[in-house]
């Protein structure tokens, strides 16, 4: 310390003082460590699981949605060929509404149904750096709707994806896919890449074994440039465009005979986004980030058409405050314009066009209570939205590292799920009752209608979590997390008196969205990583979940029983083997418990991949998925009615060439 304080006393800057010290003195200086910011997994006071590029490649998945099956604590149910129900820690449904998904800083959560259109979330999978899956609330940093989890997908920088890549294949369900990427240099300090991809996927099967009407295809392209004009500045500009067609059979309702009709239809999806980001690094423990993005997404079917435009700005600033504190603060705003121009009897939004604005600010402080042993992170998000006004979402997290290889953490947080347009503006007809039949003997045809409620409130979660990570030996690491979630003001569907205003043409049975459910969920996840030998790695996980929902007094909710449609137990075991002759054999076995309320039995699935990489630049692979069954159901849909379909056994081959 002596040498350094001498350096500081002199009029020179601390940097040149350091440069003039001897090596011996340098090794005696006590430093402030910043490694905590490049947070290693073992240091994070939250339940985090990372899906790496290697995991993506070796699992043989072809979509981001399917890749999420690797993460413990997530439920992934394929509804049909192009629809997935995905959630973290419960409340799964087609538009599961408590999971925030971010791709390279861009939120892909749709404010329409407060879910994610998984069919259009895609990129060049080979360029994904990692998929970070955070179970539990992330609202303090990520904002509203990061209630039960956050999925943060980041792609590699353009600098890391230089050169060309061609990949293509064909199989029983993958009816032809291909992608191409090229990365190059623009001058001395700038890099770029461009990509394009296409796929055509086969339909799934109906319970009878016949093919369903849900085949789909999509074209997608994009670019990314990373420019470092001067050392501490990094400017990133990236964007994607896509267009696709998805076959679909829908149930449409009409106020005259035949009242209900199953029609084959096509969903046309198209979209574009562009993200600009400026990062300035002041020093190792201080940086500044500014980001803005535009995202446009169109979706059109026979009964629904939405034009969604989003403009988002955010900035974030991080700095050490004294010796023991590290503060991050930021602010942002988002404008969304959702225009629904196809109102009809089955589905309508009133008003058809709605602009919403969100303003937010957050601050988070990481306080070292005991050097390298005990760290407290406290913070809160303050977010103002047009539906419910100001929402405050604080959290406190404590990390204790008794010694290297062991860490224990605990957290308490509050998060909210703000109303979606569907809950405020929609009118959805979802059942038709024929006249004169038991048990109601209606005098005219009846329609069950769910209506939006302008007074719908935010759902609120208080979450309590604990976790323990241990590395008992070099080759084995274990990660355990448990949670108790206390929910209030959950969405309920309340029946209203029958409406005879259109009698004798039909009778309406209106229901309205309200916040009359409450309940608890609890459970835990265990993840293990075991490097058995240099050439054989295992990953395993077990997830347990229990959901208990209750109506509040006076509620007539009809959804609470259906909402408890989550699997209690899930087990996954994966093995990655590097064999001689540049061969790789990878297996994934999964057990998923039954979904009692949807009458879906438990299932065991097996995926296999055999890869051969004769040279650094060429890779061949054969992948088989769901090999144990000819077909099996995974999930059915609730509010909007499509066909119930089943997932089929599939095999495909792929060739990848790098140059």
């Amino acid at each position: 310390m002596v040498g350094f304080s001498q350096g500081f006393d002199s009029p020179k800057s601390p940097l040149s003082a350091l440069a003039e010290m001897s090596l011996e003195d340098l090794t005696k200086i006590e430093v402030t460590s910043v490694s905590k910011h490049k947070e290693q997994l073992a240091d994070a006071p939250a339940a985090i699981f990372v899906i790496t590029q290697e995991d993506l490649r070796r699992s043989g998945v072809t979509t981001i949605a399917e890749a999420l099956r690797m993460a413990p604590g997530l439920e992934v149910g394929r509804v049909d060929a192009h629809n997935w129900a995905i959630t973290s820690r419960g409340f799964n449904e087609l538009y599961a509404n408590k999971l925030l998904v971010v791709i390279d800083g861009r939120s892909v959560y749709t404010p329409l149904f407060s879910g994610v259109h998984w069919d259009v979330q895609d990129t060049m999978l080979e360029d994904i750096d990692q998929i970070e899956v955070i179970r539990g609330p992330g609202a303090t940093l990520w904002g509203a709707n990061a209630v039960n989890g956050v999925i943060n997908i980041t792609t590699k920088s353009a600098k890391e994806t230089q050169g060309g890549l061609l990949s293509g294949g064909y199989g029983t369900e993958e009816k032809g896919f291909g992608s191409a990427r090229y990365g190059g240099k623009l001058g001395n300090d700038a890099y770029y890449r461009v990509y394009g991809k296409y796929f055509n996927r086969d339909s799934s099967a109906l319970p009878s074994g016949r093919q369903a009407n849900d085949a789909w295809d999509m074209y997608r392209g994009g670019f990314r440039t990373d420019w470092e004009p001067t050392a501490p500045n990094l400017l990133t500009l990236q964007g994607d465009v896509y267009v696709g067609t998805e076959n679909q059979t829908e149930t449409l309702f009409m106020p005259a005979s035949p009242y209900t009709n199953m029609v084959p239809d096509k969903t046309h999806v198209a979209g574009a986004n562009v993200v600009g980001r400026w990062t300035h690094t002041f020093s190792a423990d201080s940086d500044f980030k500014f980001q803005m993005y535009y995202d446009g997404a169109n979706r059109e079917t026979a009964f629904f058409k939405e034009n969604l435009n989003t403009l988002d700005f955010e900035l974030q600033y991080r700095h050490a405050l004294g010796r023991w504190q590290d503060v991050t603060w930021g602010a942002g705003c988002r404008y969304t314009d959702s225009a629904n121009s196809r109102s009809n009897f089955t589905l309508a939004f009133i008003p058809p066009d709605r602009v919403t604005r969100i303003f937010n600010a957050f601050v988070q402080d990481e306080i070292t209570l005991m050097k390298e042993r005990l760290r407290l992170t406290v913070g809160s998000k303050f977010e103002n939205n047009d539906y419910t006004g100001l929402e405050i979402q604080p959290s406190a997290r404590l990390l204790w590292t008794p010694h290297e290889g062991h860490s224990v953490w605990t957290s308490f947080s509050r998060a909210v799920r703000t109303p979606s347009r569907a809950e405020v503006d929609s009118r959805i007809v979802n059942t038709n009752l024929s006249p004169g039949v038991p048990p109601f003997f209606l005098p005219a045809p009846g329609f069950g209608v769910v209506e939006g409620n302008p007074a719908f409130e935010s759902e609120v979660l208080l979450a309590y979590e604990v976790g323990y990570r241990v590395q008992p030996m070099d080759r084995l690491s274990l990660d355990f997390a448990a949670f108790y979630n206390d929910y209030d003001r959950l969405r309920s569907v309340e029946s209203r008196p029958a409406d005879f205003s259109s009698f004798p043409a039909y009778i309406r049975f209106p229901n309205v969205f309200q916040n009359n459910l409450k309940g608890e969920t609890y459970g835990g996840e265990l993840a293990a990583n075991f490097q058995a030998t240099d050439w054989w790695r295992w990953r395993g996980s077990y997830s347990y979940l229990q959901v208990q929902l209750r109506r509040k007094p006076g509620s007539t909710d009809i959804l609470s029983q259906a909402a408890e449609g989550d699997t209690h137990h899930q087990v996954a075991l994966r093995s990655f083997m590097d064999l001689p002759y540049h061969l790789q054999l990878d297996c994934t076995g999964r057990y998923v418990d039954r979904l009692a309320n949807q009458h879906i039995p438990s299932y065991v699935s097996l995926d296999l991949r055999l890869g051969w990489r004769p040279t650094r630049n060429l890779e061949l692979a054969i992948v088989g998925t769901d090999l144990l069954d000819k077909r099996h159901p995974e999930f059915t849909q609730s509010i909007i009615r499509f066909q119930n379909t089943q997932l089929e056994r599939a095999v495909y081959g792929r060739i990848t060439l790098r140059f």
Binding site: S33, V34, Q162
Partner: protein, 210 residues
């Protein structure tokens, strides 16, 4: 809250000039005020903060270049610069660059480059492998085998995987560890001065695995 139908998604932005109570204007002025206060607060506290980990690491890297001799073919010309590369995430900010500006080692200018995995690393004389590259270390070491490049790292497994100098952190101090077998394989001469300060850790030639 309710807005009339319109196809123009940017309308709320353009309303700012007409609405004195616009949220965005409030937010912006609040932010500017906050940022100003913050900068003062930070400046106040900065005096008491000891040097950052990466400021010291930068100084050590700079010093290392004085204690290592590269074989003559590493420098094609008498004035060939000494090239330092940061591989992976750069935690130095601009401190490192400012530190070595205008500095020379044995008459050679120092040049600092940032590189990502996948770029051609061979022209470098010293490569600092950032902690961000931990997972790729075996691959990186494999690629650099046989090159006359001093590899410096900051990961626990760095030496075991064939790295030459690891900047280990002990009691919040940075303690270099040197792998002599690896430096010898690369035909780099390490001065006895460095060896007396650093901890020499053994690894017999040929033992490093990937």
């Amino acid at each position: 809250m309710n807005t009339p139908p319109s196809a123009n998604p940017w309308r709320p932005l353009t309303q700012c000039s007409r609405q004195p109570t616009c949220w965005g204007c409030y937010g912006l002025s609040f932010l500017l005020l906050f940022a100003g206060l913050w900068a003062d607060l930070v400046a106040l506290c900065a005096e008491t903060v000891p040097p950052g980990e990466y400021q010291v690491k930068a100084a050590i890297l700079y010093k290392l270049t004085k204690y290592v001799d590269w074989p003559p073919p590493s420098f094609p010309f008498t004035n060939s610069p000494l090239i330092l590369v940061i591989l992976g995430q750069d935690n130095f900010g601009d401190d490192f660059k400012r530190m070595i500006e205008e500095k020379a080692i044995n008459g050679r200018k120092l040049v600092l480059k940032r590189m990502a995995w996948g770029e051609e690393l061979k022209p470098a004389h010293l490569i600092f492998v950032s902690a961000s590259e931990k997972k790729r270390l075996p691959e990186i070491m494999d690629k650099l085998r046989g090159a006359n490049v001093l590899t410096v790292g900051e990961s626990d497994s760095f030496i075991a995987l064939g790295g030459m100098i690891n900047l280990a952190m002990k009691d919040n101090k940075i303690r270099p560890e040197v792998n002599l077998a690896a430096t010898e394989r690369a035909h780099l001469q390490i001065s006895s001065k460095l060896l007396s300060i650093a901890q020499v850790v053994g690894q017999k030639p040929g033992e490093n695995k990937n």
